[in-house]
């Protein structure tokens, strides 16, 4: 019987096959680390007198806590500063490569891996961060882990894992003008629910996925965790190889040829069996935004805020009631009438060069709406430098937006970039949970195009409204 893409990658990493219900022991090709979920893991190693087994397969960057202004001054918040200093000390003690603030390769961990070319097809990649699923866009098996598992991988370069089920998400047809990868994944999450993928690895496939750029595929795979899937993958193709070729850690010469030969085998066989398949017709999609407090509570931008009575399931109805209270929204309100205070363009979901280019194109030559602030936070220092080389920073600042340094920033508000209580944002990030962007803050998840158009009008909008 044929195998799926995820089964092929899985099988190639089994160190010890689990018997009698035990999990397989998988080899991990790369662990990415950041300051928030690693300190207790390094402490655990020290307590047990253990070393990092493969410092050369470990890469650290500072991103979650880091300020996006004055990055070369000491971090003002003493607790954040201690956490970042702790990562630096741990990296030095255990011999791990780190990209610190001010370094050209610093940035959000899931932007840094791909741009270094160290994220490659067929790898197993883990990080103490649920958006590790991003790397699946290259045909890697990549997933988020907790701190105990971070320690486990540091000590052994392996992880015991029970085999997940397999789901195909097949997307066909051309995306209509103005509809992006973000709208596609937000629509999918609203249909399947935040737990719909629990226990599954997803494979996104079909001509719509094939026609997406690598960065668009990253946006899709990034949000796999928002519908509960452990990982999301896309089969690597010529576009993937083209993206990787010449990057700092891509193989060269004969090694490149060997790698491409292997990577080319990484696709689901025609007779491979999935436990479940979901089919999406891309031609019917529209710009899509969230109204509630989980990523599954979304609606087309042309729609209205739903009423709790629209939900037959009592659990969903109660959740909608709570969400509307928290979001301070009335059922029946047109989404386009919702006024925002803040627009956030950035994050591991939509903080890459294409996202910045798209937004800049929308707002070029316009002025930001009165009373609205817009933060543009590139996903990495290199994205920032490249955007500046293209003059995008000027487009944003002349528009009236704030051009910041790279990091996670307002996606989760661990640094000073937060919403105040009651403030409302249109955000290109991945989570609209209560308080996610700051206590009492209200988040609408949107695409970069919708974020930019919203900054122009002050209410949720897309470029066709301008």
């Amino acid at each position: 019987m044929g195998r799926t893409l995820s089964e092929k990658v899985w099988d190639d990493h089994v160190v010890v096959e689990g018997r009698d219900g035990e999990p397989d022991l998988l080899y991990i090709d790369l662990q990415l680390c950041h300051e928030v979920t690693s300190p207790q893991a390094f402490d655990g190693l020290r307590l047990a007198g253990r070393k990092v087994r493969r410092p050369d397969l470990t890469l650290a960057t500072e991103d979650h806590n880091t300020p996006t202004l004055n990055i070369l001054s000491p971090i003002e918040d003493p607790v954040s500063r201690l956490q970042v200093d702790t990562l630096r000390k741990n990296a030095a003690e255990f011999g791990i490569r780190i990209h610190s603030l001010g370094d050209k390769d610093q940035g959000v961990v899931h932007v840094v891996g791909p741009q270094l070319g160290i994220t490659q097809p067929g790898m197993t990649i883990v990080c103490g961060d649920s958006h590790t699923s991003t790397h699946g866009a290259f045909g890697a098996l990549a997933f988020g882990i907790g701190t105990s598992e971070v320690e486990h991988v540091l000590a052994t370069q392996t992880l015991p894992q029970g085999k997940p089920k397999k789901m195909a998400v097949t997307v066909t047809g051309a995306l209509p003008e103005g509809v992006t990868a973000k709208d596609l994944i937000l629509t999918h999450i609203s249909r399947i629910g935040t737990g719909g993928g629990a226990g599954y690895i997803a494979e996104y496939r079909g001509d719509t996925i094939e026609n997406l750029s690598i960065e668009g595929r990253m946006t899709i795979c990034n949000m796999s965790i928002e519908w509960g899937a452990r990982a999301g993958m896309v089969a690597p193709d010529a576009k993937t190889f083209e993206y990787l070729k010449g990057r700092p850690h891509a193989p060269v010469g004969e090694e490149w040829d060997k790698a491409v030969a292997y990577w080319s085998t990484l696709k689901s066989d025609p007779d491979a069996v999935f436990d479940k398949e979901v089919v999406i017709d891309a031609t019917t999609l529209t710009p899509f935004v969230t109204w509630g407090t989980n990523p599954g509570q979304g609606v087309g931008l042309g729609g209205t805020v739903p009423s709790p009575s629209d939900f037959t399931d009592p659990v969903e109805r109660a959740a909608a009631e709570r969400a509307l209270t928290y979001m301070d929204l009335e059922p029946g309100t047109k989404m386009r009438d919702i006024k925002v205070n803040t627009v956030f363009l950035g994050s591991c979901t939509n903080g890459r060069l294409e996202d910045l280019r798209l937004a800049a194109e929308v707002l070029q030559g316009k002025r930001i709406a009165d009373g609205v602030r817009m933060l543009v936070v590139p996903g990495s220092a290199r994205v920032r430098l490249q955007a500046m080389a293209e003059g995008l920073d000027k487009v944003f600042t002349e528009f009236g937006a704030e051009w910041r340094e790279a990091g996670c920033s307002m996606c989760l508000g661990m640094n000073p970039d937060t919403l105040s209580p009651g403030e409302r944002s249109a955000s290109t990030s991945n989570r609209n949970f209560e308080g996610r962007q700051g206590k009492g803050g209200r988040t609408h998840l949107v695409s970069p195009a919708v974020a930019a158009a919203t900054a122009v009008t002050g209410t949720l909008s897309d470029p066709s409204d301008l």
Binding site: V15, G21, P23, L25, D29, L30, V36, T37, P39, Q40, D43, P55, T58, H64, N65, V79, L82, Q83, R97, Q120, M123, D129, S130, F143, G144, I145, G146, T147, S148, E151, H152, A155, T156, P160, P164, T194, G195, A198, I225, E226, G228, R230, R247, H249, P251, E255, K258, A259, Y262, N294, V315, E316, A318, A319, L412, M414, R431, F433, E434, G435
Partner: protein
């Protein structure tokens, strides 16, 4: 890790679904570099509300949390598990858990007991009708006892075995050190390494 066989304690009904790990512990509490003392961050936004269940005796003394579906979705932060355990919870009962949360719980010693939605509802009703009702969770037999009712729960065999024996995962894996070395020796030469570092200059 401490062994877990059976546990009896007050049940706390949390009538909410989709409790993501940002609600269990907001990011602002994640800046610490220690592994204990996260109880103050547990459900911190909701605890400002005097009517929240953890502000309502005797539920504040609960050690078994009964929650709606999709508990622990979202962020991978193991701090969510630590906050629940630091507060005193030993078991969470729900009809479905976020995968990463469930994995983290198994590593840290928190039991995640999966039951049908009807059982969650029945337990909620029992705990609301008899505040302070003690539940008994038997990991060996995979049962929850509430008064004269006994319910089965699911937990995967391997996690159960590790919890029953209080086994540390890393030592278990290190029994396979030779296999790991053999696997490493056979890895394809084109696989990348972070060291020596290459950059685009």
């Amino acid at each position: 890790m401490e062994k877990f066989t059976t546990h009896t304690g007050i049940g706390t009904p949390l009538r909410r679904s989709n409790v993501d790990t940002d609600q269990i512990i907001p990011a602002v509490y994640l800046k610490r570099v220690t592994r204990t003392g996260f109880e103050d961050g547990l459900f911190s936004a909701w605890r400002n509300d005097p009517s929240f269940v953890l502000n309502t005796p005797p539920y504040d003394k609960g050690t078994i949390l009964v929650a709606g579906s999709d508990f622990g979705t979202g962020s991978s932060r193991e701090h969510a598990v630590w906050a629940l355990m630091d507060y005193g919870f030993r078991v969470v009962i729900s009809s479905r858990f976020g995968d990463i949360f469930k994995g983290n719980s198994g590593k840290a010693g928190l039991v995640t007991a999966i039951v049908p939605e009807e059982t969650v509802e029945a337990l909620w009703v029992a705990l609301e009708e008899q505040p302070g009702l003690e539940l008994t969770v038997d990991l060996e037999g995979r049962t929850i006892t509430a008064g004269d009712k006994v319910y089965d729960f699911a937990i995967d065999d391997y996690t159960r075995y590790r919890l029953l024996n209080g086994l540390d995962d890393i030592s278990l894996t290190l029994r396979h050190a030779d296999e790991i070395s053999a696997f490493e020796a056979a890895r394809p030469s084109f696989k990348p390494a972070a060291l020596p570092a290459h950059t685009a200059g």
